[in-house]
């Protein structure tokens, strides 16, 4: 009786467990589905259907009218925009040793197209404003905000080239206004994928392949994966977008970390989690960048200005990348690149306009990234290193900010007149900096942290790609001991010597034993 009861009980529990398992198996969604639901914009998140608003059911002929219409309801949003770096092209930054500076695209010197100063009309194509003021400078009043460039969901909005941020005037503004929504990869990409004057020129990890990437290119944004949008990670509050690049930023704030979603211990293997103390996720999970199209790794401005029959010309490589442009000089491109690696603690410095160069024989680092093994807040991150040769004033020892863009020949702009002297003179005047009248070219370096194009985990960097004596990815970072790569020379020599000595000793001793044994046997025999 008791036995039967026990058997029945066990059977009952077994069935219940089995049913429960079957049931949960049916209901349980795949990890990818769950991730997709959590992060993908394919789940509609619209709070209002703008086509239903009477205010927008009119014929807009001018982008400013659209902005006014937006602001008539979103009547506090303009204040957020007017505090943002997307509108001001500068941020308040603290730089170690220099104090508080206002720094951004407005006044930065880089080693691509050098500076926006004196070139705003062309550069402001990527400004979230609708045009420039009468001095050709950024206009930062509320009426000038360009809402559509970020919020258009029709994919038809387009800025006109070299019009200071103005859109193409023939667009169907009504349709765009009625179809606004949260920014997608398309909105961010039109500017951020084309920095430096062409696709992927600047970043290396942000390019047009990221509009619709595959999983191999970017596991997060993949259209065949969870299809995340930029703002899924770059969480935004009051139009202050988190996550920024240290080519223009200096402070350890508003950063986006993988651990925001993945936690600090994402691996089952604790040894891998331990790596996270000193190694950024990107270091292993972005094995290569510029995966689809090439990026510029070296830009030589000193060859710019050559003409054929008095006319500028261009030369392309087999993939169609410009290797020479009369306007811009010579380029070296790279595809599927292995990143360089540096220590980084979240703070950086910058070359500021007018900074004197101490030693012009050495390359000038335009944005030194701070960090070291000793610093507990530092991690190893992957970077693209962009080298260039750019124009500078050898007397004042200042990097020049030339006027490149001009509309007509005779304006003195380099891209129409091809005269460095004149272009630098005009540019420095606008930047309010001295110019000696002499020009020369100087080597510069900039560091571009690589954060996108995260590969599927199967493609992550393997242990032995760093932990090896030959060709380690971290061969350049020498301020710490890494197993597999490093060893103590004295211990190594002594150890190998000892082993050889032992081998030699036993061989000799054994040989002598054999020899004497042989001799004894002969005598006996």
């Amino acid at each position: 009786m008791r036995n039967t009861a026990i058997v029945l009980l066990v059977l009952g529990i077994g069935t219940a467990v089995a049913l429960k398992l079957l049931e949960s198996g049916e209901i349980e969604k795949s990890e990818l589905t769950l991730l997709r639901e959590k992060f993908s914009r394919r789940v509609p998140r619209k709070k209002a259907d703008h086509t239903k608003f009477q205010l927008l059911q009119r014929n807009f002929t001018n982008p400013r009218e659209v902005t006014a219409a937006c602001e008539s309801c979103h009547n506090l949003t303009a204040q957020e925009i007017m505090k943002s770096n997307h509108y001001n092209w500068e941020r308040q930054e603290y730089i170690k040793g220099r104090g508080i500076v206002y720094f951004g695209k407005k006044n930065a010197v880089n080693n691509y197209c050098i500076a926006t100063t004196a070139n705003e009309k062309a550069c402001a194509k990527c400004h979230v404003g609708l045009g420039l003021d009468e001095h050709g400078k950024l206009k930062t009043d509320p009426e000038n905000i360009d809402c559509m460039v970020c919020h258009d969901t029709t994919g038809t909005y387009m800025k006109a080239p070299a019009k200071g941020g103005e859109p193409v005037m023939t667009l169907d503004f009504t349709n765009i206004a009625e179809n606004v929504g949260l920014p997608t990869r398309n909105n961010c990409g039109v500017c951020h994928f084309y920095g430096g004057g062409g696709n992927n020129v600047k970043h290396g990890d942000l390019e047009m392949a990221m509009f619709y990437p595959t999983r191999d290119v970017d596991v997060h944004m993949a259209v065949d994966g969870i299809d995340m949008q930029c703002t899924d990670c770059h969480r935004t509050r009051e139009h202050n977008i988190s996550g920024k690049l240290y080519t223009l930023s200096s402070m350890n704030r508003d950063r986006v970390f993988c651990s925001d979603c993945h936690t600090d211990t994402p691996h089952e293997d604790n040894i891998l989690n331990e790596h996270g103390l000193k190694v950024a996720c990107q270091t292993c999970h972005i094995p290569t960048y510029a995966k689809v199209n090439a990026t510029v790794t070296y830009w030589d401005w000193s060859t710019a200005g050559r003409l054929k029959d008095g006319k500028p010309y261009s030369e392309e490589d087999a993939d169609g990348n410009h290797v020479y442009l009369s306007k811009k000089g010579s380029f070296v491109w790279g595809k599927n690149l292995r990143p360089d690696y540096v220590w980084f603690n979240g703070t950086a410095s910058h070359y500021l306009p007018g900074d004197r160069i101490d030693d012009p024989s050495k390359p000038v680092v335009l944005n030194p990234l701070y960090g070291s093994y000793e610093d507990e807040f530092s991690k190893i991150i992957p970077v693209k290193i962009h080298r260039a040769k750019q124009v500078y004033d050898p007397v004042n020892k200042i990097i020049a900010m030339p006027k490149l863009f001009g509309e007509a020949t005779g304006s003195g702009a380099f891209w129409v007149d091809f005269d460095w002297q004149k272009a630098v003179e005009l540019g420095m005047k606008e930047a309010n900096l001295p110019f000696s009248g002499h020009i020369d070219f100087i080597e510069t370096v900039s560091y571009w942290p690589i954060n996108h194009m995260v590969s599927p985990k199967e493609m992550a960097v393997k242990c032995e790609e760093c932990h090896t004596r030959q060709g380690s990815r971290l061969a350049e970072i020498r301020d710490f001991y890494m197993p597999g790569r490093d060893y103590s020379k004295p211990v190594e020599y002594a150890g190998v010597g000892l082993i050889l000595f032992a081998l030699l000793g036993v061989t000799l001793h054994g040989g002598l034993r054999l020899y004497f044994a042989f001799k004894r046997n002969r005598r006996r025999g």
């Binding site: 040894i271 331990e274 103390l277 093994y373 000793e374 393997k462 242990c463 032995e464 932990h467 090896t468 004596r469 710490f480 001991y481 890494m482 197993p483 597999g484 790569r485 490093d486 060893y487 103590s488 211990v491 190594e492 002594a494 150890g495 190998v496 000892l498 082993i499 032992a502 081998l503 000793g505 036993v506 001793h509 054994g510 002598l512 034993r513 004497f516 044994a517 004894r520």
Partner: protein, 221 residues
């Protein structure tokens, strides 16, 4: 009279061979981690090295217990008696086929050179390996849990000490493998460590019977 004597007991042989396997395996995976060659792949080498390390620790715990409870630890007490005789034997006598300076007995199965070497292994090289190995695995734990005062800033010193100990172990291994051929015959020592029995020439009954349980351990040849 020659007698076959159980000179290495069951546990002792189990311990010796497991330890031998682990030491060789640890050296093999260890030097891969050290970057000398690539065989298992770095990650697998680390994984297996760590697994073998824990097994070695377990085995060592049993071995220490066994040595303490059986009193066998006395076998490793160093002595200078006959040391010179043994040095002379290995440097000269062995070539003339001279007999070993002393006879192996159950009470003293190690010659003075062996005693010194094995004691060195047990009190110096193994502890250094084990301690540096544990630090290698866990050196960051104190900091991670907010205990900064025992923080080890760099792996370097730990790794270098661990490597140095490994070199010494490999050297020992080479010498050991050679010296086991210097027994009564070339294979008698190896044979003894496999079967446990070795032929021992007895002159004095007392000497062998001093073993803990002579009835079981001594068999007529």
């Amino acid at each position: 009279m020659k007698r076959k004597v159980l000179i290495y007991k069951g546990f002792e042989r189990f311990w010796h061979w497991t330890q031998a396997f682990l030491v060789i395996f640890l050296a093999f995976t260890g030097f891969e981690i050290h970057g000398v060659y690539s065989f298992l792949g770095y990650r697998e080498a680390v994984r297996w090295h760590n697994i073998a390390a824990y097994m070695f620790l377990g085995l060592t715990a049993f071995a220490i217990f066994w040595h303490l409870t059986t009193g066998e630890w006395r076998q490793y007490l160093p002595t200078l008696r006959n040391l010179k005789a043994y040095l002379e034997f290995y440097l000269f006598g062995i070539f003339r086929n001279a007999p070993h300076p002393t006879k192996k007995t159950l009470l003293s199965k190690l010659n003075p050179l062996q005693r010194l070497t094995y004691l060195g292994l047990k009190v110096a090289i193994f502890p250094v390996s084990v301690v540096s190995g544990l630090l290698y695995m866990f050196y960051r734990y104190p900091t991670r849990h907010g205990i900064d005062w025992i923080n080890i800033g760099s792996l370097e010193i730990v790794a270098v000490v661990h490597t140095a100990a490994a070199f010494l172990l490999v050297t020992f291994l080479i010498l050991h493998l050679y010296l086991i051929t210097t027994g009564r015959t070339i294979f008698s020592n190896l044979h003894a460590m496999i079967t446990g029995y070795e032929e021992i020439e007895e002159e004095d009954e007392q000497e062998t019977h001093a073993g803990s349980n002579p009835q079981k351990e001594v068999l007529d040849a």
